[in-house]
């Protein structure tokens, strides 16, 4: 295992205070996957490093050590990322939590790094947040070995049809059924990453929620609950949810 790493590109997924003046950051690195790094003394008033250690910003990190917890030696800002606008910012926290949950420490996933980076760019420029979130969820699952079978009904040995209804389970995929709750159209839109229309988006959100919860085995996604609360607090009584566009997206 490496002992010192220089100028590794990475994004901070989460940070928490450590002792009096330090910080432990969980970082998604390009080449080494998710790692924990101790940033010593950065919570002191005069520290210049603290201002750099921001989530959603591409950093270049140098660190030492072999233990579970590496020690930060240097950090630079690679580029100032465009700020995530309001709602997208809350969703950025969700993306961070999801990524943190599905990656094991020190398990390299350069593709996930690329996906994450692309997702941030899309969140910063795209007004349609939901498709961006669903695509990220799907691609993340693909990359960590939980890829979904969406387009083929194994039990009946035929492709999924837009007109039919299905029962979907994370491990066995879609099964055509008259009392199915998932529209074939939703499955195919997820499969081709072309989610449009409020009905399809709502169906896709429900399905992905179930799949993600299945894999998390009871671990709660805290940011999901917080985003729902935020959405509710901004909801106005006389405006329909769809128009406000702040329905709980995650």
């Amino acid at each position: 295992m490496e002992t010192s790493v220089y100028l590794q590109p990475g994004y901070i997924l989460q940070h928490r205070p450590y002792r009096e003046s330090s910080l432990i950051i969980e970082v998604l690195t390009r080449d080494f996957g998710k790692i924990s790094i101790l940033a010593k003394g950065v919570r002191k008033p005069k520290s210049k490093v603290a201002a750099l250690l921001r989530p959603f910003t591409l950093l270049s990190l140098s660190y030492l050590g072999r233990s579970e917890l590496r020690t930060l030696t240097q950090v630079e800002l690679v580029q100032t990322s465009p700020p995530l606008p309001g709602l997208a910012l809350y969703c950025g926290f969700y993306i961070n939590e999801l990524t943190g949950h599905f990656l094991h420490k020190y398990d390299p996933h350069p593709e996930v790094f690329q996906l994450y980076q692309a997702c941030l760019v899309q969140l910063s420029e795209n007004s349609a947040i939901e498709p961006v979130l669903r695509n990220f969820e799907l691609n993340l699952l693909d990359n960590v070995g939980y890829g979904l079978s969406l387009a083929f009904d194994e039990q009946h040995r035929r492709p999924v049809s837009t007109a039919k209804k299905y029962i979907f389970s994370a491990d066995s995929g879609p099964v055509e059924a008259l009392n199915g709750t998932v529209a074939g159209q939703t499955l195919l839109a997820l499969h081709t990453r072309t989610l449009i229309g409020s009905e399809t988006l709502a169906g896709a959100k429900k399905l992905m929620r179930e799949v993600i919860d299945f894999h998390l085995q009871g671990k709660p996604l805290k940011s999901r609950a917080v985003i729902a609360k935020i959405a509710a607090s901004l909801q106005s009584k006389d405006t329909p949810r769809e128009v406000v566009g702040t329905d709980d997206l995650a």
């Binding site: 989460q14 009096e20 210049k48 490093v49 201002a51 750099l52 921001r54 989530p55 959603f56 910003t57 630079e76 800002l77 100032t80 700020p83 309001g86 910012l89 809350y90 926290f93 969700y94 961070n96 939590e97 943190g100 805290k222 940011s223 609950a225 917080v226 985003i227 609360k229 935020i230 607090s233 901004l234 106005s236």
Partner: protein
């Protein structure tokens, strides 16, 4: 070296203070017991009554021993302008600066979705009630310039917009007397994002 005796306990308890490790806790304990027993007794009494009687201001949530804190009950201050801060320490800092004559609202934290800290945990329902009541003309958002602080400011600004109350964010960036070449790139980037017309 000090087992479970009272002196050992005292040293251990002093370690709960920020910036105090076992070494300095030991120095404090010896000082109080050897040279300043009167001070020790007074400190103990004050700590006890402070921890029992200081609560939170009903209006702004800052630390206060009265129902309404000194600032909220000061009739010379503009009750229609509210400055939103993360901690009681921030109230002190902003008030020291002397540029603000309104009242405060203390969140006791910031939005932190990964820790499950959302609008309810920050007392935003209470703030919303004030906005609904129509007694507020302006909100000044003085949360920290961290991503979480900004997310918090954004959320409150959206709430203000919903209830048609004017909201502004304090400026962050280049410190007074700061030379650009010595400022870290994060702060500088922030200063650029928050630039304004002159």
């Amino acid at each position: 070296m000090h087992g479970k005796d009272l002196l050992g306990q005292l040293i251990q308890d002093l370690c709960c203070l920020p910036g105090v490790g076992p070494k300095s806790a030991q120095r404090m304990a010896y000082y109080l017991l050897q040279r300043n027993r009167q001070g020790a007794r007074q400190l103990a009494n004050t700590l006890l009554s402070a921890s029992q009687t200081i609560g939170y201001c009903e209006q702004c949530q800052t630390l206060s021993e009265q129902k309404l804190c000194r600032i909220c009950s000061d009739t010379s201050r503009d009750q229609a302008v509210i400055c939103i801060v993360e901690s009681p320490g921030d109230v002190w800092a902003v008030d020291q600066a002397g540029a603000f004559k309104g009242i405060y609202f203390v969140l006791h934290g910031h939005l932190s979705p990964l820790d499950g800290i959302g609008p309810d945990e920050l007392g935003l329902d209470k703030l919303t009630q004030k906005l609904i009541a129509g007694t507020v003309d302006e909100l000044i958002l003085a949360t920290n310039s961290t991503v979480e602080g900004e997310a918090t400011a954004h959320l409150i600004a959206e709430l203000a917009r919903k209830y048609k109350v004017h909201a502004s964010r304090i400026a962050h960036g280049v410190p007074m007397g700061g030379e650009l070449e010595y400022i870290d790139s994060g702060t500088l980037a922030h200063a650029f994002n928050g630039r304004k017309e002159i």
